[in-house]
Symmetry: C2
Subunit: 357 residues, 2 copies
Amino acid sequence: MGQHSEDEEKIIVGVTIGDINGVGPEIIIKMFSDNRMLQLCTPVIYGSSKAISFYRKTLGESDFNFTTIKSAEEIKLRKLNLINCWDEEVTIETGNPTPTGGKYAFTALQKACEDLSKGLINALVTAPIDKKTMQQEGFRFPGHTEFLAQQFANGGDHLMMLVNEGLRVATVTGHIALNEVSGALNADLIFSKIKTMHASLIRDFGIRKPRIAVLGLNPHSGEKGLLGKEEQDIIQPAIQRAFDSGILAFGPYSADGFFGSSQFKGFDGILAMYHDQGLIPFKALAFEAGVNFTAGLPIVRTSPDHGTAYDIAGKGIASESSIRSAVYLACDIVKARIEFDEISGNPLKFSKLSGDR
Amino acid sequence: MGQHSEDEEKIIVGVTIGDINGVGPEIIIKMFSDNRMLQLCTPVIYGSSKAISFYRKTLGESDFNFTTIKSAEEIKLRKLNLINCWDEEVTIETGNPTPTGGKYAFTALQKACEDLSKGLINALVTAPIDKKTMQQEGFRFPGHTEFLAQQFANGGDHLMMLVNEGLRVATVTGHIALNEVSGALNADLIFSKIKTMHASLIRDFGIRKPRIAVLGLNPHSGEKGLLGKEEQDIIQPAIQRAFDSGILAFGPYSADGFFGSSQFKGFDGILAMYHDQGLIPFKALAFEAGVNFTAGLPIVRTSPDHGTAYDIAGKGIASESSIRSAVYLACDIVKARIEFDEISGNPLKFSKLSGDR
């Protein structure tokens, strides 16, 4: 069931380097300087040995060693592997957004996605990119989530979910202006997101009968229509539909009181209506230990819940705790899916996933 | 300077009973069962001795005693005073919203406001009301804040501020639907709220050179216009205007990251654009110990940051911590104002405020 360490070592986690001018290389180095990570999984860094060596030197991380391989077919178990995604000399300008930073972040991401679609790696953890310098031929998206959804979604719905221990928050709408939120909501969309969250909580988190809380849109969840009608017209009907289809969905809850009491602890998943409504309380409560997970995709992808943090890049002060949690969560989800698929009669063997090495 | 206990006893704090069917009477009784509160101030409950006695019996609070007086002119220092605001028999229906609950909550509030405007009490702490049953001749407002602004504002701006130790959060817009927020914002309004917050931080909180953080409206504070223009068109100009007028105003900050790091701790006040943007993180961080303060008024008014909580009323489980903090804060603000006015040459004597008793 993927519980003992021999199996765990077989989980291959690809980690993209992200923007080489941001904190990505630094947090990757810090995370893997602790050898215990190799008992959990076999990591493969998608990036450049030169860039990693540059930051290793800057940070004085002498405990950090890696094995350069040519391709994912050569992955060595119990080792920290690195695939050079480019050979040319690349100028690193730590702390600055540059077109070069965006270009090579995409190169690494593309290579990792190739290996992910071939099943050569079991999960993808992405270090932060710069949304602006990242824009280029082939990448016209607000972020990793939307790019990966386009690559892997197969027409199904996807959901940005933030995870920290028992707290799992997803949002119905994403990177849109606040005054577009109300217009973007409808009962079908909310119902679809509840279903996606529900399926993910079962298969990815091993929760048999997940309880989902749905937040209202307006202050005090609309105060029975006095402060907005979306709760009555859209959100309540979506919850009812979910409930009628056997999903334990509840709400809509007033968002401020919900997170200001212990109420939120009674649910396995929380669905917010818009970006800040979900991310403000999540980040306030998780405090730098949160992980971003793209639910609803056939592949497993997680990331730290912070950005390139140019202002502190290369200074040795960036915390690796979020990306480390992202690797942990990716491994947990790979294992949960294997277990779920075994139980539900889809006998995808563990060894199959990691290529029987 | 109002620092030693003799002066402190002279601070007269009126406490309205709120909705008699909600948790108001219960949290007032629990708070004043601790005699140490009388070293801090002289409290006057505006309500009914019968209602208080009813709940004292229900709760079995034998340590709780009070002195009934006819009017504020009879206030006894070092005692818990109670003014009967009505004489008739009133039916209490614990846990239920009733027109009676709304009617007498308003009666108590009116009496306290009269004494407040006469200077017979120095501060007002309001227990929770039910916004719906409260609506009646004379009270057509979404809450206490708007009623008190109409009673006392004298045309000046007011601001709902949430306070918990060093965390002070105010919102530019209040109880309106989310899709009306963007339209309600303009640079003049934001500038006015920054000014009101600035003046309050100086006079009410004794901060000489307050630092104010202003949040953006959109996800990632608009991401330089990609996710909304209000930051560039409205918020940034208002901050600049405030800064040019000598106020240390900064921003706009991305609301999720701001509360998800230690960043918020570097500011004396935080101005959010809308209700949930301010109240979600405040309540998540303050966790039931927050106080609501109406800044910008000549009178001092605070309240707990929760509602009538009908579902737990009369069961003995409601926490008095928020209303106790509200009384503490009211006393602190009265003292800070006296100190500030003395320093700035407005020699309003302490004894004057409390009527030289």
